[in-house]
Symmetry: C2
Subunit: 360 residues, 2 copies
């Protein structure tokens, strides 16, 4: 087991990464406030892992209650969030009860937002079970639900007290979901970790083949990158925004097609190609660099082209995105491979051309 | 105009109290992040004051949008909150847009919670227009909506950047609402300010008669008390809980009768009498002290008896309340007039007897 620390002063917390972790109540117990836990999971993950988590806790004397939500991004909405509140209140959970989110990013984002709001804040633990949630969404305290007019529009910054990333849970993860997680892994290499990028170019096929050691290393290195960025800029006033490489384009794809059509990571991959193409047009990276990125995503079995929705629709959806300041579209672009920057001055014509060039 | 400061480090903010304030854009402008404001108000307050607020801002070059919510505690729910999000997204408000809540505590609590959640947090300004919201709810950053199973169960701690308490707006406030606000004013005297309590005993009739100088002084002194408590204990780990004198009993009344039957301040007055009676039974204050409290509330035209709902129903509703820790009912009681304490050891029989004694 590897342990990283997210250095956030009095809100600091550990990330444990390894095998056979989530049945181990001894890892969870030190972080509970009282011997009560409310578990949030969904209809896919619950049948696979809920009982083992509960059994471990109950055996250690912790009373547990659980709610099993419908699966999928389409349910990352208020109605589903409210089911968590209904359960917490029906079970008379207190503000000292700890909420544990067991699932992927959707369960983690909703569980975290529910924990942030229930009685204005209850303790919260993440048990991420997808690659994407292990390397990205479970770390850093962003929580949210979607609104029909925009993704993740309603939420909170709310840090967990512990992240338990159990690699064993990836055994049951569908290939397509594993690939989606790899999009965020590759992202860290592209925005701030050229050494990791080189490692990925050498080892990507091991990851796709689910080599456990390779996965453990990639998760640890990704979490380390995420933790560093979050510790430096918890509420995204600056550097943290760089984690959104490909996301403004990607959110347009997700919203434009309707949540759930493309996976988040797939949209991020295609969106990153648009960001790379725009960076090339600004003269920051060359054609060979764009081709290297494309090759990595392709080896990860990720889409490298956006869907044809019309450039205007893309731009309209992108300007609904959060990364808009005073009406200006601010985008994360690549100054070099391994170095992302925030840029608010890309000409509208170049943005349109980059989108156009990367749709098929 | 008087100005107080809520000393919360980098989240510190001023409270301006006086006449003719809310039309003055010069007081608001320094606290905006961009020249865009989204105003949240309701069908009662909007027709009275919205245009003056908007006109002042627009004349100063600030673009404004507004949403007018249905009036009343019964609408302090998710559906109504969502109307704020709908407006913010439809108008493409950014996370740098400032949300201004213009209204009583219901509008303030919902506007504040919406601001806390919209894109994970946008700047927020309180323009409270009821006595209760001027002396209590607009200061201190508690925001929330109700859930069918409990009041204020879903919310956030989220501080405003400015509170503008304009005494002129009280001209249109119904007598019953003025009285409800006085319950919270009296509360500050009871829990921590014996000197203010004496002033209230001497001047309560001036407040009921809406003497402007008396009101200005009572609002200032109340805000000073609230600001001190909040600065010492922002997230209610300790002292801040004392502000809930009478509230656990009161919330049982509000929930038991259905939101909106009794006003919050009315329930707090009757609830405070129950807390006083329980304090007397514990031997902390004497019958004369209870009578003094009762006399003050009666002069303020507030109820001093709870509704007959059955003691068991009270206790059941009270244990749904947030002030429960590890299954124990923790209550704010009076060690003396002007000194409240948190107490978790009152015998259940005495709690029941106190409720019984103060129902009619
Ligand atoms: N909070 C953040 O910082 C952040 C960062 C990135 C993404 N996100 C959010 O995360 C979400 C995407 O997360 P995700 O990719 O984990 O999606 P997800 O939670 O929908 O999980 C993908 C699918 O895999 C299933 N699943 C989960 N674990 C499994 C397992 N061990 N075995 C088999 N099936 C399993 C899920 O039930 C679901 O059907 C999006 O909503 C996105 O907005 C948040
Ligand atoms: N956040 C906190 O710390 C805190 C503290 C105490 C109370 N509260 C909450 O505050 C709410 C009660 O606030 P309230 O008493 O202001 O109720 P309210 O907001 O419902 O206002 C009372 C009534 O007066 C109307 N009104 C408001 N201003 C007016 C004006 N100037 N002229 C004429 N009519 C006017 C309102 O529209 C409403 O009909 C409750 O929901 C309570 O939970 C919150
Ligand atoms: Zn992402
Ligand atoms: Zn109150």
């Amino acid at each position: 087991m590897q342990t990283l620390n997210v250095a956030l002063g009095e809100r600091a917390y550990p990330i444990h990464i390894g095998r056979g972790l989530f049945g181990r109540a001894d890892l969870i117990l030190p972080h509970l406030k009282t011997q009560r836990v409310a578990i949030v999971t969904n209809t896919v993950v619950g049948p696979l892992y809920l009982e083992r988590l509960r059994a471990g806790l109950e055996a250690a004397g912790v009373r547990t209650v659980a709610v099993v939500l419908p699966d999928g991004e389409a349910h990352k909405d208020w109605e589903t969030l409210n089911r968590i509140f209904d359960m917490l209140l029906a079970e008379r959970c207190e503000r000292s009860t700890t909420l544990v989110a067991l699932g992927g990013g959707v369960v983690g984002d909703m569980g975290g937002f529910a924990a942030a709001c229930y009685q204005r804040g209850m303790p919260f633990i993440q048990v991420p079970t997808t690659l994407l949630s292990q390397v990205d969404s479970s770390v850093g305290g962003k929580t949210a639900i979607n609104h029909p007019l925009g993704k993740n529009m309603i939420g909170a910054f709310y840090q967990p007290r512990l992240v338990l990333a159990d690699i064993d849970t990836l055994d049951t993860l569908p290939d397509r979901e594993l690939s989606a997680g790899l999009a965020e892994v590759i992202k860290y290499g592209l925005i701030r970790d050229p050494e990791f990028l080189a490692w990925l170019e050498a080892n990507l096929d091991r990851l796709v083949a689910r080599d456990t050691d390779a996965l453990a290393w990639a998760i640890e290195r990704s979490c380390r990158n995420k933790a560093e960025v979050v510790a430096a800029d918890e509420t995204e006033q600056g550097e943290r925004a760089l984690l959104n490489l490909g996301h403004t384009f990607g959110h347009a794809i997700e919203t434009g097609l309707g949540y759930g059509e493309w996976l988040h990571g797939e949209a991020v991959a295609a969106g990153t190609m648009m960001a790379a193409e725009l960076s090339r047009r600004l003269g920051w990276i060359d054609t060979a660099a764009v081709a290297r990125i494309e090759a990595l995503f392709e080896r990860a079995r990720l889409p490298v082209w956006g869907p044809r929705m019309g450039v205007e629709r893309y731009v309209e959806l992108m300007s609904h995105d959060k990364k808009v300041e005073a009406g200006k579209l601010r985008l994360v672009l690549l100054r070099a491979l391994g170095r992302a920057v925030m840029h608010g001055e890309a000409p509208a014509g170049e943005i349109a051309a980059a989108i156009e060039a990367r749709c098929r």
